[in-house]
């Protein structure tokens, strides 16, 4: 048993945990961080896009030594059917700036680097330590943690739960529910290695420029889900994720889905001849604003994926994790510097600060989106992509059919598939959820 008492214990050394531990350690607090992996990042999976602004707030000079892959100059969005894709590309020379806005990263490497900063700031970081339970007093107040390492407990004034999407500890201590199959997506992902020049030629890049592709459509077989292809320096991340409830309902297998995506004629040439060096799987919180649990209580706060703070529409998670971790730490520090106790009333400050940040504002904006996507998955991920592809092909094929007839045929295919009421309803519901 560790006899020492800490100001704060942080569970997890992912994006949220590192942000929280770093912020508190920098302010001179006595912090213990516990991570179950051999090193920070050894259990973590991401696409991965890193958003510079949120990291800059923690480590302003991060570009000097952080393991960054490519800065993004181009974003592609693909609507796919089985044989084609309709794409929206945005590329701008403006993104070739000195302090780039978005980078691709490799999580296992990035988290290790992030963790070194946490140690340098003075926090005690213990890896290879799984926290098994929260220690609570007779009133249910959280007073520390129990781990699989020493018998006994480690005590602290406050515990920051940054344990990621599975959130085992919070659920075991009945602070929140376990994630439900319709509120989390399962993503599987492979790392495809190719020579640098090949990647740059295939993606039309030079130097450290990068591009990411997000893809939706029949590739998810009517399930709510998306695919992604991100270019790193010498490898390409290829993955696809769908709601767990949809996997359960359809009986489709995640690896078969990933292989189908890889074999798609728009995807296959990008990764042809590559060597696969890793296959990974992870959950992503997709429940949105309505799935956010209680964020604080007596002796504890929760941040990042464990708090369901993940914006599935924009595919942002790590930046919400970093920001909520940082804000949790700042709130804790304020409570401590006023010499107040870490009670539920005092820690409510965390929620008030989070409400004012982009984190909860963005989450709130899309509060109706998950439900809309899940209840209309067949339309959004099967019917529309097929119709759009058909329309594009009809439009582009030159075959002597008068254009007016082509347009009529296209319109008719939409109405046949969804009816006028269905079409207007979909547009209306989508617009309202997007608003």
């Amino acid at each position: 048993m560790i006899e020492e008492r800490f100001d704060a214990i942080v569970v997890g050394a992912g994006m949220a945990g590192n942000a929280a531990a770093l912020t508190m350690a920098k302010k001179g607090m006595k912090v213990l961080q516990l991570e179950r992996g051999e090193y920070a990042g050894s259990k973590n999976v991401q696409g991965a896009i890193l958003y510079a602004d949120m990291l800059e707030k923690l480590i302003p000079e991060f570009r000097e030594d952080a393991p960054l892959e490519r800065h993004l100059v181009e974003q592609r969005f693909w609507i796919m059917d089985d044989r084609s894709h309709v794409g929206l590309h945005y590329r701008s020379e403006d993104f070739n700036e000195e302090r780039a806005n978005r980078y691709t990263i490799i999580r296992a490497q990035f988290d290790r680097w992030f963790s070194s900063k946490v140690r340098a700031a003075g926090a005690t970081v213990l890896c290879e330590t799984t926290v098994t339970d929260l220690a609570q007093d007779a009133y249910g107040r959280v007073i520390g943690v129990r781990t699989d390492r020493q018998d006994g407990e480690i005590h602290a004034d406050v515990v920051v739960l940054a344990e990621g999407v599975n959130g085992l500890l919070g659920a075991r201590a009945r602070l929140r529910e376990r994630p439900k199959p319709n509120k989390v997506a399962l993503a599987v992902k492979e790392m495809h290695f190719l020579p640098r020049e090949t990647i740059e030629a295939r993606f039309n890049l030079s130097g450290d420029e990068g591009v990411v592709i997000e893809a939706a459509g029949t590739i998810s077989g009517g399930m709510t889900g998306m695919g992604f292809i991100y270019a790193n320096k010498e490898c390409i991340s290829v993955g696809i994720g769908c709601l767990v409830a949809d996997f359960q309902r359809t009986g489709r297998t995640p690896y078969e889905l990933l292989d189908r995506f890889k074999r798609h004629p728009s995807v296959a040439p990008l990764i042809e001849g590559s060597e696969v060096k890793e296959y990974a799987a992870h959950l992503i919180p997709e429940g949105g604003y309505r799935a956010i649990p209680q964020l604080y209580g007596d002796g504890w706060v929760v941040a990042g994926d464990a708090a369901q703070l993940n914006n599935a529409i924009h595919r942002e998670g790590s930046n919400l994790a970093m920001t909520s971790g940082r804000i949790a730490a700042e709130a804790i520090f304020q409570v401590k510097s006023r010499r107040l106790a870490m009670t539920k009333e005092n820690l409510a400050l965390y929620k008030r600060m989070l409400d004012r940040s982009f984190v909860l504002k963005d989450m709130k904006k899309y509060k109706d989106m998950p439900r809309l996507m899940h209840t209309n998955s067949q339309n959004f991920f099967m019917t529309y992509p097929q119709l759009v592809s058909k329309a594009m092909q009809t439009y582009l094929r030159v075959d002597g059919t008068p254009k007016s007839e082509k347009q009529k045929a296209t319109l008719k295919s939409f109405v046949n598939a969804r009816s006028w009421i269905g079409l207007f309803g979909d547009v209306f519901r989508f617009a309202r959820a997007w608003r």
Binding site: R107, T129, T253, Y279, A281
Partner: protein
């Protein structure tokens, strides 16, 4: 019920690094005679294909290739079909890239 073999998951898992905690599986299947629909769903939903059916028609788990994603927990824990934990600190999957 047999899971399709068009994709060999074993080959995929082969490139991953694991430190197996021999004799201490972190996930357990509750003893049963006939598997529940939730248990059967795990045969296909698990991305590492850790679940299989034995000759008695019961669902079994071999955790060696487990990527600790939590999918089976989300499906199988509420019904009491499985017990789910993380491996001991340091054990289990070790992502080089993640």
């Amino acid at each position: 019920m047999k899971v399709e073999r068009s994709v060999r998951v074993e080959d995929k898992l082969f490139c991953n690094r694991y430190l197996v905690d021999a004799g201490r599986p972190h996930i357990k299947v509750r003893a049963h005679t006939r598997p529940s629909p939730q248990l059967l769903a795990l045969l296909r939903a698990c991305p590492a294909r850790c679940y299989d059916v034995n000759d008695k028609g019961q669902v079994e788990i071999t955790v060696d290739g487990c990527m600790e994603c939590g999918t089976c927990r989300v499906i199988g824990e509420p019904t009491g079909d499985i017990e789910w934990s993380y491996p001991r600190g340091g054990y289990g999957v070790l992502f080089k890239f993640g």
